[in-house]
């Protein structure tokens, strides 16, 4: 590295690395230079001119954000020349800016307002009429009703181009006719779009769901952790009274940087959904009625012990959502074990459990999130990366712009908006074979013998290209995404990924499917002993009684049809839920539990960081934190070891931070790498299903978030197939088709996608329209409807 540069800002000396700007130097000294267009995560535009400073020997003031720091430079940010320039720019910016702060949502948290106080005059010298810009429609999340307020800093435009990876907004026109717009008739659909609201320095882009509902100074703020994907984005949850009003990011450079996904930002609307469960209910004589907590818990205890007494403890099962807190998962499994059953699982969308007992530890990212950017070669297997992990996707997006080669093997062709080195799309049943070919290709390049089971495989062009990329790097990793984890041969995919990694000296990582994918294992919320049933087995061999924690079986399980059959045929279902859900059809007891904003708890993210949070608001109605509910239920059942007086004491029993690293290990052994020919292949005339979990249907809270439900990502699911497959069936785009799987069916509109593998049909799971269907993978048939 070349020598540091020494310069002076406001008489204070500072050293910065070459390539730094005057703004960087000032920031390092803690000197504030007023600015609008400058943003530390975006490229330099230098178009607002607010950051003008006085530089020695420069004839005119220079923009700090765009002026390179040089050795021996002398800068004054507050000299008379600097001040005059800054005040002048402020005056220009305010010429056309409306004086509508009193009715502007940004009022009180507006950079323009704040800086105008310091640098603006108290009166304008302009008497001419102000410019008016028409409002724009940008979709359900961003309000662009007052574009007259825009100061054309282009932060929103650059955010789209550089961070979201898709330029949805642009600045049209020229000079004082410039306007920020989306292309004619388009909305802003990026899954990161809400960040534009944060970075807009004025009130031009504001939050549509939050609009006019509170002023910033009325809100109380609490730190929290996002409950959806496995990143564990840090949040600031803002509330008024007992209602969550808004969620914004809390900067954490190691995880979410200064961003959050739209799912993390807008899902709070689901917390206030009309179907919140606010009173315990029990079924009596076939009808549900509201009761008090004591009655409900005593009833639940009685029903569960009755089933155990009559049918044995193995007739009981626990299914918990991976969005539950560590504390909840810990107590739920302890309760089930206290009842004598080992039928315990939180891996609801997983299909293949043959890795259980063969893993060396808990599957995790395999590295720190921040280290993703340091990899130079990457293979991602089976991931709807953008939708499943919006901000992990951004890490790869940024790294790919530098020197990272990203290779993707997946079952669908969705554009990750990442510059890909190679993209290989194969049918789900071909995924193991595709990986085997990559193993073979890497072995060949490395001049190493092929591992057992991969002997007689021909290497094809794409596998050779991927192998070539992987072996050429200095720091390589293989990641398994949600599709790989949910695949019917997940264990084999894992083992194959490990083979590739071994051959080219790479790391293996799992993205993780939900907020507590690691936490669930730490809490031991998985089956134990030889007899314990996993999430799949518990539904395929239905139990007499289930305890359900925060889940909607028809939407959260791998096989919705089997899940519904199982819970409907059970004698007893005790559902702990924040929402009424379809549990009202089958549950004997419904216990209203608090969502993450109304309870304390912890999530352990995919890198193994345990993050705890406190309640932001009081539980709604009679809802109570689930850890307390489980404690009382266990006490009613006479199960010992539940004398916890705080969620922290539960947490520390569940797992200590210091113990986590030793338990994380992506190693796997004892898996046969060879796939029997034709395994998973559907019968010759049948189609194979590809199922994604749509981003805004992934869990109970986000499904109820009204504004997210109006976005493009929440449109009614469609069946998608390749044009050739459709032609074979005599179907064309736009047809209404009936998709049958087992006894279930869904009638949807057909879409065509050139890149989808042959003889496959893609149809989402986790959506009410598809909740009658079976497993996420496997055989389906499609015919014209009506």
């Amino acid at each position: 590295m070349s020598a540091m540069l020494k310069l002076e800002v406001d008489g204070r000396e500072v050293e910065v690395p070459p390539g730094s700007t005057v703004m960087d130097a000032a920031t390092q000294l803690g000197i504030f230079v007023p600015h609008f267009c400058y943003h530390k995560k975006l490229s330099i535009a230098a178009n607002c001119r607010m950051c003008l400073v006085h530089v020695e020997k420069a004839p005119k003031p220079l923009p700090a954000c765009a002026t390179p720091a040089t050795e021996g430079m002398k800068v004054w940010t507050q000299s008379a020349q600097a001040k005059q320039a800054q005040n002048g720019v402020m005056e220009l910016l305010l010429i056309n800016h409306p004086l509508d702060c009193p009715i502007c949502d940004q009022g009180g948290e507006c950079q323009l307002q704040d800086i105008a106080v310091g640098y603006g005059a108290s009166e304008s010298r302009y008497t001419e009429p102000k410019r008016v810009v028409m409002h724009k429609s940008m979709g359900a999340l961003i309000s662009a009703e007052e574009m007259t307020r825009c100061i054309h800093c282009t932060r929103c435009v650059r955010f789209g181009q550089e961070i979201a990876g898709v330029m949805e907004l642009g600045m049209i026109g020229r000079g004082e006719h410039s306007e920020i717009v989306a292309f004619v008739g388009k909305s802003v659909d990026s899954e990161l779009s809400g960040n534009m609201i944060d970075i807009c320095p004025v009130g031009a882009l504001t939050s549509k769901p939050f609009r006019y509902s509170a002023r910033t100074w009325e809100l109380s703020r609490r730190k929290s952790v996002a409950p959806h994907d496995s990143l564990g984005s840090n949040l600031i949850v803002q509330s008024k009274g007992s209602t969550v009003m808004r969620v914004v990011p809390l900067e954490n450079e190691d995880l979410n940087e200064c961003w959050i996904s739209d799912r993390d930002r807008f899902s709070y609307e689901g917390l206030n959904a009309p179907d919140r469960l606010t009173q315990p209910m029990i079924r009596q004589g076939g009808t549900l009625k509201e009761v008090d907590w004591q009655t409900a818990l005593e009833h639940a205890a009685k029903l569960l012990s009755d089933v155990r007494d009559q049918h044995g403890a193995a007739a009981l099962g626990l299914l918990a959502s991976p969005q539950s807190t560590l504390e909840e998962l810990h107590l739920a499994q302890q309760l089930m074990r206290g009842l004598g059953s080992e039928n315990i699982d939180f891996r609801l969308r997983q299909r293949d459990f043959s890795a259980d007992g063969k893993r060396s530890g808990i599957p995790w990212l395999g590295m720190k999130v921040a280290d993703i950017g340091r990899l130079d070669r990457v293979l991602i297997i089976g991931s709807y990366l953008r939708k499943d992990h919006p901000l992990l996707a951004n890490r790869f997006r940024q790294a790919a712009k530098r020197n990272q080669e990203v290779n993707l093997v997946h079952v669908a062709s969705d554009d990750p908006l990442i510059k890909l080195k190679t993209k290989l799309v194969v049918a789900p049943s071909d995924l193991p074979a595709a990986l085997s070919r990559i193993v073979a290709a890497v072995a060949e390049l490395k001049k190493l013998p092929r591992p057992a089971g991969i002997t007689n495989l021909a290497i094809d062009e794409p596998s050779r290209a991927i192998a070539g990329s992987l072996v050429s790097g200095g720091s390589t990793a293989i990641f398994l995404g949600s599709t790989a984890e949910q695949h019917p041969e997940a264990a084999r995919l894992h083992a194959l990924a490990q083979e590739i990694a071994l051959l080219c000296g790479a790391k293996v990582g799992f993205f993780g499917t939900a907020a507590n994918s690691v936490g669930g294992y730490l809490a031991n919320c998985v089956p134990g002993g030889a007899k314990g049933l996993n999430a799949r087995a518990m539904l395929e061999a239905p139990r007499k009684a289930y305890v359900l924690l925060n889940l909607e079986p028809e939407l959260d399980c791998h096989d919705p049809a089997a899940a519904m059959r199982a819970v409907k045929s059970a004698d007893c279902v005790v559902a702990l839920s924040s929402f009424r859900t379809r549990a009202t059809e089958y549950a004997q007891v419904l216990l209203p539990v608090a969502p993450f904003t109304e309870t304390s708890g912890s999530f352990v993210n995919t890198e193994g960081i345990r993050q705890s949070f406190n309640a932001v608001v009081k539980p709604l109605g009679e809802a109570r934190p689930a850890w307390k509910v489980l404690r009382v239920l266990a006490n009613n059942l006479g199960i010992p070891g539940f004398d916890f007086d705080s969620s922290e004491s539960v947490r520390d029993v569940a797992c200590r931070t210091a113990d986590i690293p030793a338990r994380l290990d992506n190693g796997i052994s004892g898996i046969d790498l060879a796939t029997a020919a034709g395994a998973n292949q559907p019968a010759s005339n049948a189609l194979e299903r590809i199922a994604d979990v749509p981003i805004y249907f992934a869990d109970a809270i986000v499904r109820r978030a009204e504004s997210l439900q109006q976005t493009k990502d929440s449109r009614e699911p469609r069946a998608t197939m390749s044009p050739a497959t459709a032609a074979k069936l005599g179907l064309s785009s736009g047809d209404s088709v009936r998709v049958r799987q087992g006894d279930g069916e869904a009638v949807v509109v057909l879409n065509l996608d050139e890149e989808l593998p042959q003889n496959c049909v893609r149809l989402a799971t986790a959506h009410p329209a598809c909740s009658g269907l079976g497993p996420m993978f496997g055989e389906v048939s499609v015919e014209r409807a009506g």
Binding site: G170, G173, R174, F183
Partner: protein, 157 residues
Amino acid sequence: MLNAQSLKIIDKAVAKYPPDQKQSAVMAALAVAQDEKGWLSPEVMDFVASYLDMPPVAVYEVATFYGMYNLSPVGKYKLCLCTNLPCALSGAVEAAEHLKKKLGVDFNETTADGRFTLKEGECFGACGDAPVMLVNNKRMESFMTPESLDKLLAELK
């Protein structure tokens, strides 16, 4: 969307730049598209965007930046009168008044017979010939006095 002839010209423009910088040809492509279609509808801009592998809104930015692109249909003759300072000081104001009166339209309007569209232009870099007017983006007319305007209009059938 565009005919083979137009695409051929666009391809030639694209070939001047490195393969991963196709979008450098956007101005040429828009000009060709406009020559064929008369104006740039959203559909045409969308087509150019996908042809050059760039976001539609980025094409829109370019199309709205330059006055020579028509974002709505124009008359047979688009008259673009420079009204910047040197022209304004040398008779452009009078020329504008004359044109407006004679054609019965204001700036950004088209005559009822669809023959003329009147537009305001920015400096064409020909201030020595002020006032200057551009006809259909390609033909530059100098010294636009009312008399020479009358002559020109009579000629544009």
